[in-house]
Amino acid sequence: MFAFIHFVKKETYHIFRDKRTLLILFGMPVVMIILFGYAIRNDIGRSDLAVVDEAHDAYSAKLIAEINASAYFDVVKVLPNEASIDNSFRKEEEKIVLIIPPHFGQHLFQPQTGKAQVRIVADASDPNLATSLTNYATAIINTFQGHISTISQPPLAIIQDVRMLYNPEMKSVYEFVPGLMALILMLVSAMMTAITITREKETGTMEVLLASPLPPALIILGKITPYILLSFINALLILGFGNFLFHVPVHGSLILLLAESVLFILTALSLGILISTVAVNQQTAMMISLGGLLMPTVVLSGFIFPLSSMPVALQWLANFIPAKWFIIILRDIMLKGNGWGYVWKETMVLLIMTLFFILLSIKRFKIRLS
């Protein structure tokens, strides 16, 4: 036990004397959360919109005013005709244009037909943005239609009341915080342990440690103990940032959330140990961690790309990504306020994965020694 304390102490010296390690440990999480929280967003704030008003009547003016008054658009420009849109899009001045054809009001109130047309033209070089913008614009036009039809005649209408549960404002930061937590903990814990163990192999100190009476399991445990603590601090940091900066709630039990985080940290650490048994030097360890963990965690965990829209083969493959299960657990606890009864299955998956990685590492570690 005494020897173990000496080991943990030594490992802590290593961490706090290596600026690169410190930067990855604490710099990366902070930078990433600010980047994802502020810069990368799916929800759109106010956007610029241009109009081509060929009607110039009371109703076209009303429609434009209604759009301008909405929370989504600023009417910034009036273009002379449809032909000038292309030029305006190319200059990236706005992404969406509303065209109101001549006799808009007249057509609207024609006794028999009562139909008028408007056209929405969007710059689809960014398809996601274009879709969102046109959706917002259509919604405003529908509302406008509702307003003017109550003036003329009582309409038959089905009123749709759509509610977005658990994230009513559709804030993408709600989605990012659980994802980021999984990504950062996976990267930091796995990569750092893989690097720290391979560093001892590279410098030759591992041989001296193995020639000492310390059992190999104690050597590994001594090396990862500080990282368990630091990763836990990291988890708290991300939760704290999410809560104070972006008001991401924790509806469920905080204790359950932290316990699940510790489990996921252990999963990542065991993966790191496994990588270190394969990699010969620090560079290889880093490459394997980045290539083998970062990419699958980003792509296949459901963090950024929804799993349900992926091909079946990829969905199946995603089951082997620990982060997928952790993100489900986090969303359940943080956003839905679910308890143990809802997350025990995912927890079991993580637990089994961790045990599997540990057993495999022990086996590989022994092979290297004989």
Partner: protein, 244 residues
């Protein structure tokens, strides 16, 4: 050598290690007595490091028998590890730890008590004249000092045997000389020294040497006897004759 207590602390009988079809050490047999300085020589790839690793309990032999400090290398590696010191080919201290931290760490993992550590640290620092550098990072020390420190640290738990795998690689002649004085001192205090080296002048300092050629021990004996046997003047010539 005749006047030393004759009692083998290392014995190897037909000790063999195979990696697949490659035989790294091929049935080597030798004995090392207590307090002896045993030079284990050979060209690169002759199988020295493999042999050392088997004796230190780092590598399981394929066949043969060996015991170190009275413990069997197949079944009692844990006991062996408690009774040996080991200095590897690569520099074995932590560069980003201070001199004192390194001493305390290695003492700590060999189970020294807190008071024992304090005492040992004081003795080592004054012996190595490193008192002023105690709080300096090891990477700031010159290589010769590092090697001397590494040797002292390998002896911190007062082991019966110390294994030195090319301890003087890349060190200047004066420091090498001082290093060998430390080896003599350790041997005088009863520690058995098992050392591999490339430098043939260092072979002259050993009580007894063995020279390995492609996995086998080609010759073994005192440096004087070997030189006589080959009728040459230096160990270097002995080595060159064997290599041809």
């Amino acid at each position: 050598m005749e006047n030393k207590i004759v009692q083998p602390v290392i014995t190897a009988e037909s000790l063999t290690k195979k990696f697949g079809h490659f035989t790294a050490t091929d049935a080597i047999t030798f004995q090392v007595k207590k307090g002896e300085i045993f030079g284990f020589l050979g060209a690169n790839g002759a199988g020295k490091t493999t042999a050392i690793r088997m004796l230190c309990g780092l590598l399981m032999p394929t066949s043969g028998n060996a015991s170190v400090a009275g413990f069997d290398v197949f079944t009692q590696t844990e006991e062996i590890k408690k009774n040996i010191g080991y200095m590897s080919q690569k520099f074995s201290l932590y560069e980003d730890l201070t001199v004192k931290e390194n001493i305390r760490f290695y003492g700590g993992i060999y189970g020294l008590s807190n008071s024992g550590l304090k005492e040992k640290t004081e003795i080592l620092l004054s012996k190595l004249k490193l008192k002023n550098e105690a709080r300096h990072l090891v990477k700031s020390l010159p290589l010769g000092w590092k090697q001397k420190l590494a040797f002292s640290v390998a002896l911190i738990h007062e082991p019966a045997i110390v294994f030195l795998d090319e301890p003087t690689g890349g060190v200047d002649p004066i420091t090498r000389r001082q290093f060998w004085e430390m080896i003599y001192e350790a041997a005088y205090c009863g520690t058995t020294v098992f050392v591999t080296t490339h430098y043939m002048d260092e072979a002259e300092y050993c009580d007894r040497v063995s020279i390995m050629v492609s996995g086998k021990i080609a010759v073994m004996g005192t440096p004087d006897a070997l030189k006589k046997g080959f009728s040459v003047k230096t160990m270097n010539e002995v080595f060159l004759k064997l290599a041809r």
